[in-house]
Assembly symmetry: D2
Homo-oligomer: 294 residues x 4
């Protein structure tokens, strides 16, 4: 996607500014319009902060109208094609447009309860979540009072718009919108990186497990590319599976039959989508250690 | 079950001796008969060794007849009710009498290939195995030549008869026929045993996972009873699952939401049915270590 | 030393009771006399509690006289031979009767400041301490106000008298007066206890290091006897030194020359004299883990 | 020091070439002279290889004369000022010019035995060693036969000349002549790098311990500069000392008094002067793990 330079935006006519980035906020070009008065912005982060300030400072009625302009998650708007292109892409990335019957029903129940309580849709930055974490937050935030929920919804809109803005505008001071998940395998029998260890990363959902990537460690015991990078890490539970039995057999360590350790599963959760999660494995045929590293 | 004292056996008339323990070896009272000449035995282990010696020293034709007198695993004999009571119990303990269609077929294929190659059934000490390890050994031993396989079959008969003998006879020098699986959880934030950690042990089969036991750690971070004891440990793959997220939350450690570590799975295999496997967990909210201890 | 049975004490004439255990409290047979009224005692612990109650309930002037009846640490009373036999043995066990010039001066300075502030000697249960921890507490408690210090001194007298009582009286409900220090070495290359590892335990003092014991691990990776047992563990800093380089070389692991790990020092402090400190080592030629176990 | 470009050397007149780098090999400009015929060299490594080839291909008598032209370690040549400037600097870096009486005597004894056996001095690349490892190799190589020792001496000359060449010549394909020692501290209670941990690195000699560097971990739990870099790591034994007690106290973890872990010593040996040694610490107040990382 071609991006627009911050310089260009800083010097554009107001109406061009709004035309360029008015859709960062769902059906709310007025936010860009108000922010345009604060130009020039020294950084993309400052531009985003100014837009969020406009949203947060707006009168309650304006805010409620704004919130009501958002689509429901996995909701009727999706089915009748009334969502913005960005929303379609975001919800689709999580498969919210092709839920199973039971899941769809779970969302419907929550959406119904939510509408009754708040009068605007449940808003969450889908790209920072797995289905399980969305459902968990959905149920949890249903306990909010209206004031807290408006604040929570604006926080999520902050995450959503930050991602959209980072994709559309380039310039100095880009906001941090991506996380990183990496691993490293050390062979503690030989005191060196374990090269050639097959491993895979899985998302552990409440109802199913999905493989995200399969790879093999290189000479440095790392993977050639991070396991996840360049996108937010979805809040949720994961499992790394290391095939250490094959590795030790291939490296001349005859141990027991079957080996005490063969497939080593490391289950962990990600809570910070923009964080760096380094999850190494120190392993011999009879012991291992894992930790959140840096 | 009432047991017979070794003293009684040592002084019994030969025919009473054979009547008492002739069925230790499947359809082969002659083994007890030959061993009776070696009385008195100083230990139950010595009695067992004498019977195995008789089986191993018998002429080839006698050995083959002996081996042919064993039931097939999950085979036709089971279905027509022609097995000895011991064999029925042993095979039943593993569910070999109620296999799914696909599993039954896998056994049938192996049994057919086996009969064609060896002319006697595949013999294995079922109580030392899981279904998966039986299938693995079945396929592996199908590569044996006849001489090696007769030796392998007699080794397995040694395991089977040792267990039967230990259940029937009491006295000094009992053979070791049981293993032990235990765990221990240490909380490395507080430097003390982790009390109240819910955990479960599962057998990880190729096609399904079965829970063996659920329990909670006591004040010493151990379980009140060993996870498995008093029987042979079945060769196979297991998983311990420790609910450390709940434990740390209950002990006042607010970490991430969701916590980095919640359910910690430790997957390991048992290769020595009469061994002691101690599989501890040293754990903080951000790291853990496990190892085969002692 | 012959001990007196609690039964005997429970039924003795009051004067015999006082004669038997009146010296448990330094120059204060009145404490035993008062406690004798509470007989019979169901346990030695209850007898001790009754005596401490008498000391704690006494009028302030009586308490001060009692405290003044204690010897100074490493003080003039020691040099002129005016201490009770118990005090001589206790101070001697720590070498307080043969300090170097600088240490003696340090004690003198503290004793002088102490006398000026409190008017009674610094009292501490020497057998629960190293010289370093005594000096640390000495300086720390010098900050106390008089009331707190009387309470602290009585606490220490509780420790002292508990030890004396446990040595003199036998019966049900003995107080816990001893700690335990143990270790365990696991070889994580082979997944088994490391047998034959030479190791030593040292007390790490501010001015010198003293070896307490040298030993070798047995087949279970433990030492035949605990490193310390049957006495209070002295509060202080220790170092375990494991000769793992020799062990791995003897077990056929050729690693680097010189080996990455040869002598592994584990430095730790003991804070609970009556606690159980288990300090294991999980070790390969390239990594190790230690922890306070249980 | 100004360096000469490889290009310049490749195109220089032969006599200029020898003048420029003839002193890389001790008193043996003929080695550069022979190597000059192989020009142009594509890399500094190739230039070095050509010079070593010339030395290794020379007739035995020439080699012996060459070896005899080297100074003894800590020997008489040093005292009478007959060494080359490079040798003076190299030996001085290890303090071999200011040994204690006992150490000097130890070197003298070895030098005398060596001269009697080989007729040429003991040659070793001093900059890759500590005094202890020099003495160990000295005694060990004294067992060599003459042929093996000539080969061993040439290997060491290879290390010496590689370092001298790398300091004098610049260009593509520089030989690897330096190692790297680094550390990293992870706080496993909080799951983050431990910032602000004071630590020091010490060389552990047989007769004394010398502090090499003291520093403090930064926000990433690392040290701003590697502990050692830019030079060969001296083969020998080292100790890292981490002040974790202060760190945990400063981070709000009240543990025992004194804390179970206060100063954590990690003792390890370096065997590969050009290697990367990463020696991290994963630590809570009650446990730690260290390993050779990468």
């Amino acid at each position: 996607m071609t991006t627009i330079g911050l310089d260009t935006l800083n010097t554009a006519m107001p109406e061009s500014f709004v035309e360029a980035i008015g859709d960062i906020f769902e059906n709310a070009p007025w936010i860009a319009a108000r922010a345009s008065a604060g130009r020039p912005f020294a950084s993309v982060t400052a531009l985003h902060a100014a837009m969020m300030e406009a949203a947060r400072m707006a009168p309650l009625e304006t805010q409620l109208t704004f919130l009501r302009g958002h689509p429901e998650l996995a909701g009727a708007m999706a089915r009748v094609g009334a969502m913005t292109a960005d929303s379609i892409a975001e919800q689709g990335s999580l498969g919210l447009d092709r839920l199973s019957g039971a899941e769809f029903e779970r969302f419907e129940t929550l959406n119904t309860a939510w509408r009754a309580r708040f009068g605007f849709p449940f808003i969450i930055c889908v790209r920072r979540h797995t289905r399980d974490s969305i459902l968990a937050r959905f149920a949890h935030r249903l306990e909010n009072d209206v004031e807290s929920e408006i604040s929570a919804a604006l926080d999520e809109i902050g995450f959503i718009s930050r991602l959209r803005l980072a994709a559309k505008v380039s310039g100095p001071g880009m906001p941090v919108t991506t996380g990183r998940l990496s691993t490293h395998v050390l062979d503690t029998v030989h005191g060196r990186p374990a090269a050639g260890v097959a491993l895979s990363l899985h998302e552990i959902g409440a109802s199913e497990t999905a493989r995200i990537v399969s790879t093999v460690t290189n000479q440095d015991g790392r993977t050639d590319a991070p396991l996840i990078a360049g996108v937010p890490l979805r809040i949720g539970t994961y499992e790394l599976r290391f095939h250490v039995g094959e590795y030790f057999a291939a490296n001349g360590l005859d141990t027991a039959v079957p080996p005490f350790l063969d497939l080593v599963p490391i289950r962990f959760s990600i809570a910070e989508p923009e964080g760096h999660y380094h999850v190494p494995l120190l392993v011999s045929p009879w012991t291992y250690t894992t930790y959140r590293g840096s």
